[in-house]
């Protein structure tokens, strides 16, 4: 079907039970539960980039890892091109081939004992994509060139490359199984800016060339702004706002989104005093009741403290935006400081 999204996620959640010391377990205390992801729903169409943005500990990386099958979800459903892959046994080889992942740390995501050639060939061999060794080798050369490296680089070991080049190797591996969807978990956070620009450009070129779909996880709003079609803002395990990229930056609805936009250090704002927002992200082990953001929110009222807002389509946000905020729903939020950040 034409309108089946490539990736569909419904009410996805994972709760980790934190280990308790034996003494406390003996006293009958129940282990604490970390709700890393607590009910997240979204869909990504083919060829689109959806970014999930949020501060550390908000659960954005866990979302990617859940979709990759690295954790078993506590509840919810993940479907790829209409096939339910929530249970591990439903992840057939044909499905696994279509989804790969790029990781944050280029140092740790490549096995230091393997030659680059073998690292990139691993998915080709695992999925039996190439007929024989010569074809495998030809494909590896092609992938290396596709990401801007030379075929001869395949003979080297990861430590012989710089961080940016290692991330290119990671991308080559991710492309090896000819996937449709690439889960990008902070792919440029460990890189220097000039190298980051190279990698971001490469990723966009590859997307145009191969029609790739990206789920892009990042804490850097400027990078997200550059890369995404749609953006989901995450706070303490839940999405608080989802919108088209342009709409989100032009007219942020949720107070947390506004806070994030306000705090971006930006080159254009020389010597500006950033609006420092009080408070810090609370621990996800004991999140505040009601709206998790209410302790930091200047607009919180009694309802916010007691009732958790759901993600609802926003009236003002153009292009299918959705916000989880009582104040927005009730219309008691001042209009967004629009335009300031997103003109030009």
């Amino acid at each position: 079907m034409a309108d089946t999204p490539l990736l569909q996620v419904e009410d996805l959640a994972v709760h980790f039970r934190l280990p308790l010391p034996v003494a406390e377990r003996a006293m009958g205390r129940r282990p604490k539960v970390l709700k890393a992801v607590d009910g997240v729903s979204f869909a990504i169409g083919k060829g689109v980039t959806l970014s999930v943005v949020g501060e550390s500990g908000c659960g954005k990386s866990t979302v990617a890892r859940l979709i990759a099958g690295l954790y078993r979800p506590t509840r919810g459903r993940v479907a790829i091109d209409g096939h339910d892959v929530t249970a591990a046994r439903d992840r057939t080889r044909a499905i696994r081939r279509r989804l790969t992942m790029i990781f944050q740390d280029p140092q740790a995501s490549l096995n230091p004992r393997w030659r680059v050639r073998d690292i990139i060939a691993e998915p080709i061999r695992a999925f039996g994509i190439a007929g024989d060794a010569r074809e495998t080798s030809r494909q590896v050369d092609g992938l290396l060139e596709q990401v801007g490296l030379a075929g001869a680089d395949g003979e080297k070991y990861p430590h012989e490359f710089s961080g940016g080049q290692r991330q290119r190797i990671s991308i080559a591996r991710a492309l090896a199984s000819k996937p449709d969807l690439i889960l990008c978990d902070e792919p440029t956070s460990a890189l220097d800016v000039s190298v980051q620009a190279q990698i971001l450009n490469l990723m966009r070129d590859l997307q145009d060339e191969l029609g790739l779909t990206y789920l892009f996880i990042s804490h850097d709003l400027a990078v997200v702004h550059h890369m995404s079609d749609r953006i989901a803002v995450m706070y303490l395990g839940r999405f608080v706002e989802v919108a088209e990229a342009a709409a989100l930056f032009a007219a942020p609805q949720h107070p947390y989104t506004r806070l994030l936009l306000e705090t971006i250090p930006d080159l254009g704002m020389t010597k500006r005093d950033r609006e420092a927002v009080a408070g810090e992200v609370p621990s996800p082990i004991d999140p505040p009741g009601g709206c998790a953001f209410h302790p930091r929110c200047p607009h919180a009222d009694e309802r916010c403290r007691t009732e958790r807002p759901d993600l609802r389509p926003s009236q003002s946000g153009a292009g299918g935006g959705a916000v989880a905020c009582h104040a927005v729903e009730e219309g008691r939020l001042p209009p967004a400081p629009s335009g300031e950040a997103a003109d030009g």
């Binding site: 890892r65 990759a68 099958g69 690295l70 992840r91 080889r93 696994r96 081939r97 989804l99 790969t100 992942m101 990781f103 944050q104 740390d105 740790a108 995501s109 490549l110 096995n111 230091p112 004992r113 691993e122 998915p123 695992a126 999925f127 490296l149 030379a150 001869a152 680089d153 003979e155 080297k156 430590h159 012989e160 490359f161 710089s162 080049q165 990671s170 591996r173 199984s177």
Partner: protein, 327 residues
Amino acid sequence: MTAGPANGAASGTAPGTAGRLLGALHRGADSDLAYSFRRNPVVVTAAIVTLLYFFGAAFADWLAPHTPFDPSTLSLGDAEKPPAWIEGGDWSYVLGTDNQGRDIFSTILYGSRLSLIVGFSAVIFSVVLGVGLGITAGYFGGWYESTVMRAADVQLTLPSILVALMVDGVARAIFAGTDIKTDATFAIYVLIFAIGISAWPQYARVVRSATLVEKSKDYVAAARVIGIPSWRIMLRHVLPNTMGPVLVIGTIDLALAVITEATLSFLGVGIPPTQPSLGTLIRVGQEFLFSGQWWITLFPALALVLLVLAVNLLGDWLRDALNPKLR
């Protein structure tokens, strides 16, 4: 650390097998390990001594001037000859002879061979057992991990020589009544098992913690995402990255295993005198210590000390050289 522009260095060389081999050799000779080796005369000496032992053990049949365990070549007339440089010595028996006229130098060569065979086999046995249990425990976790690691803890509370003695005794008791021959060969197998089983916990512990570290790295996640089976991830991804410390412990353990073998043999539960190891030679010889034939026990003992010292020095150096924190 490799210096040089990250790109283009390899693009000039032909990547064939020969080129690869040359490259690896060059890297090896140029590595930090090789450098720290060359710079350290004590370690070089220890390595030469160890190699000499291996060489002597491997070619004992050709190197030994006499075949001490062939009764037809022995003559009691040659018995209890002192070393060659002492009054009454004979240069064809450099280190003298024992009470049955066996050449001490030759028995040391053959004895070292046996000691090294037992030591090596025991180390390999405990490495296979310990690494296998450690890597699966670290990778799978849960009750399996707890069981394995508690078993390791329990065994570590017992001195390894005691474990070896117990295993040795139990094995002998079990097989005594059966028709399996309890000859020297059998004793060797029992020894290997007894010494090997006493050393696995340290490998299991080290490999388990290394596995926990490696397992959390994203290259393992990358392999899991494409559906590589667990056993393959453990074997091809995790195992090679945990072998550094195993090599170190294994080397030091070889020295320990040789000592344990010697101790057991000295206590008389090891290898019988018909085919003596170094430990057996020392035990047999010490009966003659007070009657003046000191060489029968002293030379095998010196040989044992030298071997263990050399291997231990190698192990210590390896531990320091492979530990980035100490550099």
